[in-house]
């Protein structure tokens, strides 16, 4: 499969002195699920903003389907329409993502921007609401929704635009287990339908479930490694180094056990654990 998005040697700093990305390069193929993982503040959200042409890196290049994404390129009406309708971005904070008066308006916003007729747009909205099981929230204002409902509406507001590429920023944050499993099922379904998914997360359980290709960002904002989910999850030194798992001490009776621990995936004792009599 051809690359849908390519990041080439991109660096970015906020206010010129707070580094967010340092010489990041990666390529994502059309139709794949790709996860960007790393601890808090490593630059995952910034990378998604750059992929979506919302901010522009002072150094490095971004290509979407072989075409350079830059401030100048996005001033071209045709390219802007092509790019914005091809790339959907679900923001980490649903409160900022949802800016229309009702759920229905929220889902209508994108298709109307694309120039679809009212009938076609509302048809899409009804289908998406049925798929995401939010039809009953149609007239509700977004601020009157629960966290899980907001996330569904945020994803729905992007799906009605039918993008090729979905950028999902921490999609599992703050959701209950049922909504999480709903979203994982949805992501697999969308990928099977041909959508490319780029997910920024620090949820190791999610990449374990999706079995996707993974880029690991370090705390100094560089790409530490790119590999399959298995390769990354088995590399405990790497996960320790980038602060996604940690060493943990706990007690069984009078014995203290030290082992690698993650709240998402690992809680495993070595075959011969370090045992300290207390």
């Amino acid at each position: 499969m051809a690359d849908i998005i390519q990041i080439d040697d991109v660096s970015y700093a906020y206010h010129d002195n707070i580094p967010a990305l340092s010489r990041v390069s990666m390529s994502i193929s059309e139709g794949e699920i790709f996860a960007v993982i790393g601890s808090n503040g490593c630059g995952k959200s910034t990378l998604l903003h750059i992929m979506n042409g919302l901010i522009y890196p002072p150094s490095g290049r971004v290509y979407f389907q072989g075409k350079k994404v830059s401030e100048d390129a996005l001033r071209d009406r045709a390219f802007l329409k092509f790019f914005r309708s091809s790339v959907g971005h679900v923001f980490q904070d649903s409160d900022v993502h949802l800016f229309c008066p009702t759920v229905f308006d929220e889902l209508m916003f994108g298709p109307l921007q694309l120039g679809l007729s009212q009938e076609e747009a509302s048809g899409r909205v009804r289908e998406i609401m049925a798929m995401l099981e939010i039809s009953h929230l149609k007239d509700r204002p977004p601020y009157m929704l629960s966290g899980g409902e907001k996330k569904r509406v945020a994803i729905g507001s992007i799906l009605t635009m039918n993008p090729r590429l979905l950028l999902l920023d921490e999609p599992m944050n703050g959701l209950d287990p049922r909504t999480k499993s709903f979203l994982i099922e949805l992501m697999i379904l969308l990928n099977n339908a041909g959508k490319t998914l780029v997910i920024a997360t620090h949820d190791l359980a999610l990449i374990s479930e999706l079995r996707c290709r993974v880029a690991v960002l370090s705390e100094d904002h560089r790409v530490e490694k790119i590999g399959t989910a298995d390769e990354i999850l088995q590399d405990e030194d790497l996960l320790l180094r980038v602060n996604l798992i940690h060493e943990h001490v706990h007690y069984h009776g009078n014995n203290a056990h030290i082992h690698i621990h993650s709240h998402y995936l690992f809680h495993r004792h070595d075959e011969k654990p370090d045992v300290v009599d207390s």
């Binding site: 906020y14 206010h15 002195n17 707070i18 903003h49 979506n52 919302l54 901010i55 389907q65 075409k67 001033r75 071209d76 009406r77 045709a78 390219f79 802007l80 329409k81 092509f82 790019f83 914005r84 309708s85 091809s86 790339v87 959907g88 971005h89 923001f91 904070d93 409160d95 900022v96 993502h97 800016f99 008066p101 916003f109 994108g110 921007q113 694309l114 120039g115 899409r124 289908e127 998406i128 049925a130 798929m131 099981e133 601020y143 507001s157 992007i158 799906l159 635009m161 039918n162 993008p163 090729r164 709903f182 099922e185 949805l186 379904l189 969308l190 339908a193 041909g194 959508k195």
Partner: protein, 308 residues
Amino acid sequence: MKNKIPGFLLCTPVQAHDAQERVTLRSSYIEKGIGHLSEMITTGYLNVGQESGKGFFQKLDPRVKVIFLIFFVVIVSLKRHIFPEVAIALFVFLLVALSRINLAQFYKKIVGLTFVFGFLVVFPSAFNIVTPGQLVLPVITLSQPYEFIIYHIPEEIGITRQGIDGVMMLCLRMMNSLAISLLVIYTTPFHRIIRALQVFRVPPALLLVITLSYKYIFIFAKTIEDMYFARKSRLVGMVKDSEARIWVAGRIAHMFRKAMSRYEEVFRAMVARGFAEEVRLSNIGKLTAVDLLSGGFFLLVGIFLLWM
């Protein structure tokens, strides 16, 4: 959810972009304004990250800096001649350099503000219509003098030496006051400046309100920026100014609602941590020998400048 995926999601979304024909879009001024607002607040007004560093002023206690600020701004206002103002400007320049602040950026901001809010405002007073005196640059010669309301318009209109002195004096005062204020702001985190106001017996409740308001400006700016990005990512063409205005009005209402619920949550969080009407702020700490020596040095320089 299986088999529920809508048919349109299975279709190829859009045809590839044809690079042959290019129609350039012009952003609406409201669109640009929203994007620049948060950047302006965080980088311009709040000076994010610039207070850090290991220069001379960064190491001083905020109380010394706040007293320095007030003392020197008063001196700047009291001086009536250009020479002492130039001496103050040189002294502040030295402090800025010792504090390892980027001189070009620092003085660019000061000169820009002084030009717009100082020079352009007071420049008309350099003419002999406002400030009579020795004419150094004649501009227009009229057929006869006129009387207009309270102004005497002489036959020959031009810039006077006294007028130039007045403009220079006002511009220098403004530059010095700005440089002193920005030096303190650039080298001190805002919450420490506020805390230092305790030495002037400012009520702790007021200090707490200012600190919370300042924090809210950050949250406000970030929320505006994120909402702007969220909207931008779903826009495919140019937005009419009228549509942008409707959106901005809606967002203002949304921000107001959000602010209301946020302050209730913050207040509950404060109550949960033991807040009960009386505000108690942590002690600001003792002055070091360097603080006392620097404070003494500033006092001596200030007295010398007053004597000049």
